[in-house]
C-alpha cells in the first residue's frame, strides 16, 4: 500500500467511525498484504535450537504484532473494561504476576501462579499452561478472556466491544484483511505479539558466547546445576545446549504427599499424571517469583531448600527427584548460595525493559 493510500483509508475510517458507529465495514484495498515480520532470534537459539514455531495459518506480520500488543494491554477484553492481559502478565516480571494468585475482575482469586511469557515461540511441544491443556498459543489466548475468575467476558461481547472502538477495525483490516472483528483474529494477533517476547541476552548467554566471564560463585553454581549428584537441575531445566532453560515438559517435583491439584493429570485423566506441572524456564527467574505452579515459594532460597531437603514422596513423583526419603540432595550452604548466584545470571534486563514490550 502506498502512503497516500494509508492516509486516505485512515481518514475514511475516522470519518465513518465518527458519523456512524453502528456498521463500520472497511474493505481491504485490493492487492494489500500485511508486512511480513521475521522474528529476531538470538544467536545462541539460532545455533542450537530448532526454528521458532510459527503456524502456517498465522504468519508473523508487523500489523499483526502491533495489533496484538494493543490488545494485550487493553482492558477492553474484560467484561467490565477493568483488566488487561498485562495486569497479570507484567513486563517488569517477565510477564508474570508478583502476586501468588492473580485476581479477576470481580475479585475472584485463582489457584495457580501466573506463568511468565517468554520464548513461547520455542515451546516445541506446544503445550501451554501449567497443566498443558492448550495445544497451541492461539488456543491458549481463548481461555483467560472467558474464564469467570479472570476477565469473565464472552467472545461475542469482546468482538462487539472492539468493533466499536475507534481504530480497531482498521488495525484488524490491516492485519488480517477484514475489519470485521472475530475472536480467532484476536487470538492470532495476541499470539503474534507473544511470539516476539524473546529473552536471549542475559549474562548466561553472554558467557556462553564467550563475551563475559562468570564469577567464581556463579561458575560453581553452574557446576552444581550440571552435577547429577548435587543439583541435577539440567535434566528438567536444560543446559548450555538448550538455552531455553526448560524442557517444557511435566513433572511431579515432590511438593506434596497428597495431590490436590492434579495438573496434567486433571487434563488427561491419567492417574499417572496427577500432580505433574510444566517445568518453568529459569530465564528471568529473578523477576518471576513467587515460584511453583501455586506460587508457594516467595524466594529462590525457598526453592533451592525445597530441592535440597524439602522433597516429599507421592505416587507420581518424578524419578529425577533424588534422595526423597532424606528430603533431597542435601546441598551445602556454599553450594546453595552459588546456585542462587548462578540463577541470577538468567536476568535479561534488555528483555524486561524492551520498549517494544511496554504499553
Amino acid at each position: 500500500m502506498k502512503p497516500k493510500g494509508h492516509i486516505l483509508l485512515l481518514l475514511i475510517a475516522i470519518c465513518v467511525a465518527s458519523c456512524n458507529t453502528d456498521s463500520v465495514t472497511i474493505e481491504p484495498e485490493e492487492g494489500y498484504v500485511p508486512t511480513p515480520l521475521t522474528l529476531e532470534v538470538p544467536q545462541l537459539f539460532e545455533e542450537r535450537l530448532l526454528p521458532p514455531v510459527i503456524p502456517e495459518d498465522n504468519p508473523m506480520t508487523e500489523e499483526g504484532v502491533a495489533l496484538g500488543k494493543k490488545l494485550f494491554f487493553d482492558p477492553a477484553l474484560s467484561l467490565d473494561g477493568s483488566q488487561a492481559c498485562a495486569d497479570c502478565h507484567r513486563p517488569e516480571n517477565a510477564f508474570s504476576d508478583p502476586r501468588q494468585f492473580s485476581v479477576g475482575i470481580d475479585g475472584s482469586v485463582g489457584t495457580r501462579n501466573s506463568m511468565p511469557l517468554q520464548n513461547l515461540a520455542f515451546n516445541f511441544t506446544e503445550k501451554f499452561f501449567w497443566d498443558g491443556r492448550a495445544i497451541s498459543l492461539e488456543e491458549q489466548i481463548f481461555e483467560p478472556v472467558t474464564n469467570p475468575i479472570e476477565m469473565n467476558n464472552t467472545w461475542p461481547n469482546v468482538e462487539n466491544t472492539l468493533q466499536e472502538i475507534e481504530g480497531y477495525p482498521l488495525m484488524f483490516e490491516r492485519a488480517f484483511g477484514s475489519s470485521t472483528i472475530d475472536s480467532v483474529n484476536v487470538s492470532k494477533a495476541i499470539s503474534q505479539f507473544l511470539r516476539t517476547l524473546i529473552s536471549g541476552n542475559a549474562k548466561i548467554d553472554r558467557f556462553l558466547l564467550g563475551q563475559e566471564e562468570l564469577s567464581p560463585s556463579e561458575a560453581n553454581g553452574l557446576a552444581v546445576f550440571l552435577d547429577e549428584g548435587r543439583g541435577d537441575c539440567f535434566h528438567c531445566h536444560g543446559l548450555p545446549a538448550n538455552p531455553l532453560w526448560t524442557d517444557n515438559a511435566f513433572h511431579n517435583n515432590g511438593l506434596d504427599e497428597i495431590i490436590t491439584d492434579r495438573g496434567l493429570g486433571g487434563v488427561s485423566g491419567d492417574p499417572r499424571e496427577f500432580g505433574l506441572f510444566k517445568s518453568g524456564s529459569l530465564r528471568n527467574i529473578e523477576f518471576t517469583g513467587p515460584y511453583m505452579h501455586d506460587g508457594r515459594f516467595a524466594t529462590l532460597e525457598e526453592v533451592i531448600d525445597h530441592y535440597s531437603e524439602g522433597l516429599v514422596f507421592s505416587e507420581t513423583i518424578d524419578p529425577l527427584m533424588k534422595k526423597v526419603a532424606e528430603g533431597g540432595v542435601q546441598l551445602s550452604e556454599e553450594d546453595k548460595a552459588d546456585l542462587k548466584a548462578f540463577l541470577l545470571t538468567f536476568s535479561d534486563l534488555e528483555f524486561i525493559n524492551n520498549p517494544d514490550f511496554q504499553n
Binding site: E47, R48, L49, L50, F122, F124, A219, A223, L226, D227, E228, G229, R230, F234, H235, C236, H237, G238, L239, P240, A241, N242, T246, D247, A249, R272, S279, F313, T316, I317, D318, P319, L320, M321, K322, V324, A325
Partner: protein, 267 residues
C-alpha cells in the same frame, strides 16, 4: 560419518553396459526400508499402560517399575554380499512410553537384495559431537550431556522406581552416556581425564530387502540388568553418568539387549 551410497544412476549404468546377450536386463529397483522399535521385558511386551504400573523383577531380585525409556540409535547400515555399505548417516530418538518415533525410515534408498543390517545404539565418537544436532538439543529438555562429562549426547534415559533393601520405594536413573572418567568427583570443568566410546554396534543379521520391507528392532529391557553384570540397583541407582565403571558395565550388558524382530513386507 560414513556415507557410501550406490546411486540409482550407477545401477542403470551397469545395466546399460551389459547388453551383450539377448535377455532383457532386469531393472534395478531401489527402495527405502522402514524400522519399528519395540520393547519387552524378557519377552513380555512393554506397552504405554505398563509404565509406572507393571512390576518387573530384575536379575538381582529388585522389584521395579519403569517411568521413562528414551533411547537413541544411529547409522543404520546395509551391507551387501560384495561388502558395499549403504548408510544414510541419520539417527532416531525413540520415546518408548509415548511411542514417539517408534517408526523410522532412514533417508536412503537401496537396491533390492540381501543385506546384513546393522545399526549403532547411541552415537559413536564420530557422530557424538557436542552441540551438533539442533533437534536433539531441543528434545526431551535437552538430549545433550553436560560439558564437564564430556559433552555430546545421551544414549539412553531409563528411569523408574524400585524397592530397595530397606523396603523403601526409591528412584533410579539408568542414564547411559559415553564413559567419562574424572580425577575427582563431583565433576567440574577440570576433572575430566578420559572419555571412552561406549556406543554399541548391533548386527541384526541378514535380511532380504524388497519394496515395502519393515524390520522390527526389539529391546529387551531386562538385559540391561542381567548379563554379564548382574546389576545391583541398591548400589547403582543414581549419579551413573559420571560413573566410568557403571558406563562400561552398561556397555557390556547392552551387547545382547537388541535383536531383530519381525520382518514384514507391505505390498
Amino acid at each position: 560419518m560414513k556415507k557410501i551410497v550406490l546411486t540409482l544412476a550407477i545401477g542403470f549404468a551397469f545395466v546399460a553396459c551389459n547388453n551383450d546377450d539377448d535377455t532383457t536386463p532386469t531393472p534395478v529397483v531401489n527402495t527405502d526400508v522402514n524400522f519399528t522399535f519395540t520393547q519387552n521385558w524378557d519377552g513380555a511386551d512393554i506397552q504405554n499402560s505398563d509404565y509406572e504400573t507393571t512390576e518387573y523383577t530384575n536379575a538381582n531380585g529388585e522389584v521395579l517399575t519403569l517411568s521413562k525409556l528414551v533411547y537413541l540409535i544411529s547409522d543404520i547400515t546395509f551391507t551387501n554380499a560384495a561388502g558395499e555399505t549403504f548408510d544414510a548417516g541419520d539417527y532416531n530418538l525413540i520415546d518408548a512410553r509415548t511411542g514417539s518415533n517408534a517408526s523410522f525410515t532412514p533417508n536412503i534408498e537401496i537396491p533390492e537384495g540381501e543385506y546384513t543390517v546393522s545399526f549403532t545404539y547411541g552415537f559413536d565418537d564420530e557422530d557424538n559431537i557436542d552441540l551438533a544436532y539442533n533437534d536433539l538439543n531441543s528434545s526431551d529438555g535437552s538430549w545433550s550431556v553436560p560439558g564437564p562429562l564430556g559433552g555430546g549426547y545421551h544414549y539412553m534415559r531409563l528411569e523408574g522406581k524400585y524397592v530397595n533393601t530397606a523396603d523403601v520405594e526409591t528412584a533410579f536413573q539408568f542414564h547411559n552416556v559415553r564413559a567419562n572418567r574424572h580425577s575427582s568427583l563431583p565433576p567440574g570443568p577440570t576433572t575430566l581425564v578420559e572419555l571412552q566410546d561406549t556406543s554399541i554396534e548391533v548386527n541384526l543379521g541378514t535380511v532380504d530387502i524388497t519394496t515395502g520391507t519393515s524390520i522390527e528392532i526389539q529391546m529387551n529391557v531386562a538385559e540391561w540388568f542381567k548379563n554379564p553384570n548382574t546389576w545391583d540397583l541398591n548400589v547403582l541407582f543414581t549419579v551413573l553418568m559420571p560413573n566410568f565403571d557403571a558406563q562400561i558395565m552398561m556397555n557390556e550388558n547392552g551387547q545382547n539387549v537388541f535383536s531383530r524382530g519381525a520382518v514384514t513386507v507391505t505390498p
